[in-house]
Amino acid sequence: MGSSGERLFEGADWDFQTLQRIHDACEEIARKELGLDVYPNQIEVITAEQMLDAYSSVGMPLFYKHWSFGKQFAFQEASYRKGLMGLAYEIVINSSPCISYLMEENTATMQTLVIAHAAFGHNHFFKNNYLFKQWTDADGILDYLEFAKGYIAACEDRHGRETVERTLDAAHALMSHGVDRYPGKKTLDLRAEEKRAGERRQHEEAVFNDLWRTVPNAKAKSKATLTAERRRALLGLPQENILYFLEKTAPRLAPWQRELIRIVRHIAQYFYPQGQTKVMNEGTATYVHYRIMSRLHQQGRITDGNFLEFLQSHTNVVFQPEFDDRRYSGFNPYALGFAMMQDIERIVKTPEDEDRDWFPDIAGKGDVEGVLREIWSNYRDESFINQYLSPALIRRFRMFHLHDDPAESQGIKVDAIHDERGYRRVRRELARQYDVGFVDANIEVMDVDLDGDRRLMLRHTTVKGAQLNETDTRRVLQHLADLWSYDVALTEVDGTDKVLKEYVVSPRAAAVAA
């Protein structure tokens, strides 16, 4: 950090040497000062048009072809042309090497910001957060996409574009219910199994009591119940990953259709962590770029003018409109994430008494980077907010909790505000907004009528009375029935198993798996 004073660039222009210098300067700060651990970086310079292209293939450098991406592209292009939408300064991909796209229009300051933000902030988060470690394979993703693209193109050649498109349409409709939410059981190796059996035997010996023999047994389960249970166990039911279930058990799918479903499922799974870590991911990246840019300025490696330019974009990014503002559309993940990271820094460095009460583990600990790295690795949005949203921040944002019960004629109730009584409730409710368990409808495959007409039975357990939108649900179920090729029934029940609504959909004549 001694190499101060030497400017990285002058003015707004940059070339590839400049980018290299910027990257090296950022890397030095990121590694030595923040202790970040990142994948190797690959920086790609692209045009605005290419950025639009990337938008419509969910940001990935290569993706299979499908009309829905074209639709998205047409839509985005139209709103971009009209000036309704600006383009992002960068896109970053969770892969190894970590690819960051930089727009050619950016000024040198913006490129510095973007490199600090994406190539170090996001990159570190991708590499270290437990969700990404658990669910994504950064080394393999680009190869997999390449395979998927080629495989789908080959299927189109062989089976016709329309058939492939129908299968993909159906799979896309179920994409949100094609992820594993919990890591599967690891099968034990023989040695571990033996050890476990031994432990169980010991336990049984330790708690043996002959009295239990004399207790009358419960009534044995009827044969019918046993068969049903056995059948469900064999099919792995209940199953909430509908695409997985179809891939493995749909009776009439061709092998290539199973592979297509598998591809869609894998891609949904790859994006699963990103949906759960928006606040943290952006918060981390924003905090990192803020630290790096400030340090660069301190070292005199960027000018005051550059720094002001940076501050202007930075404040735009972390702007949080209030609820009655026309611009308000929910919490801005950049704003909330960055504020929380800074707040944690404050708690670790200069805690108040309140902070000591609320966060005894980290208050006054002194090692800001260490604490933050630990948090970045081990939390997702829901648990992060639930754990680290401080009263000070609730006061600063002046958060309040509204409870809207349609049955209540008086109106919407203000349930909690930023006061002593409200902190915990506000924090719990905000965390819940980011909980995937609440965000996605809880729909499970319950059973298949193997004795009768092979009807597939699903169940939606409603939460807080929210039911499925009927038109959309019928359409999705239609896709599902086409893949399953027999009837599909969905029952909506509330927490007490009371049936609220039932759907039955039959496959279309020209079904996908005819």
């Binding site: 293939s57 074209g70 139209a78 109106g411």
Partner: protein, 425 residues
Amino acid sequence: MVMHIVDRRLNPGSKSLENRQRFLRRAKALVQGAVKKSSQDRDIKDVLEGGEVTIPLDGMDEPRFRREGGTRDMVLPGNKKFVEGDWLQRPNQSGAKGSGAGEGDSEDAFRFVLSREEFVDLFLDDLELPDLAKRKLAETESEGIRRAGYATSGSPANISISRTVSRALARRVALRRPRKDDIEALEAELAECEDETRRRELLTLLEGLKAKVKRIPFIDPIDIRYRRFETVPKPVAQAVMFCLMDVSGSMSEHMKDLAKRFYMLLYVFLKRRYKHVEIVFIRHTDRAEEVDEDTFFHGPASGGTLVSSALVAMNDIVRTRFRPADWNIYAAQASDGDNMTSDSGLTGQLLTDKILPVCQFFAYLEVGEAANYTFDMPDSSLWTLYERLRNEGEPLSMRKVSERGEIFPVFQDLFKRRTASQERV
């Protein structure tokens, strides 16, 4: 750690073009409807500009399991005056904040921009040029020649020197043919050499080398390669479009405007099918002359009406400038239908004997005043004549038009794709 910078700016753009085309193909019927609708209120020139169309989302939607209703809890920023236990009025349903509102907007319609090509393609998609016997003939008759690699046999005129020499060089190197320089060097050494043993050595060496040179020729017949050509049927890729118009006093501005619209559509259409399209404007009163576009539409003229004069002029031009074997010939005639009665015989004869045999397509457009409805108009003298010819089996297309809005339907009707049995691939 090593960092790579990749410049992707020069990569081929429009990576999502294929996706876009898929989308358009899927939404084709809808987009086509929208294109037709939007083209009705446009000028013909603007038709070429492309532009924004709106299609209903029906069939293009991507359904998802989506929840609505129920008890909602939300945490919002920016509290100013609320305290715990306050009751707020529900906003009117339309202004409901939070989830749901954003999705509702895009439900009913979907707007996007079509490029010029896409627009014209969709606009003219279900139209087709009439396939006449002659065009087939013309297509197969003219053949072109194309280079197609190299061959081991051929005529001496076609020897490919560079290929032959390079193969010979490769062979000479492979077989280690002694180089001329080496032999000369040895000879020079031999000439200066005094030592007898060395001389004998050099002599044997030289002899061996020279024998080898003889054995391995500089160019061997197996080296020789000929440029290969193959003949390909060359489609006639050019068309000429004759615009014939009556400009006598009875033709009003409105009528000319109708004619102009029709000509422009025909031009756009031909332009899509042929690489090269020429236009010849012939206007006539009782005399015909070839004029430029501006004069054609705007130049003042008056006089009687002799249709045959225009046909004679066209025939002359075809004879002198557009060999029917090389050109696809299209003609469109616009007139209010007046013609001297005495001219009918000559006109009919010219058409059947001279014009129609060389034309791919001949359309007659009878234009009327805006107020008149076509079905009210009594058949004009020209219409009667042409109708008779058509009934006799001549390939004539004829329509009546009196309103701007009818131009597109008439045009589409004329070039509508015929049934599959008649369709040629």
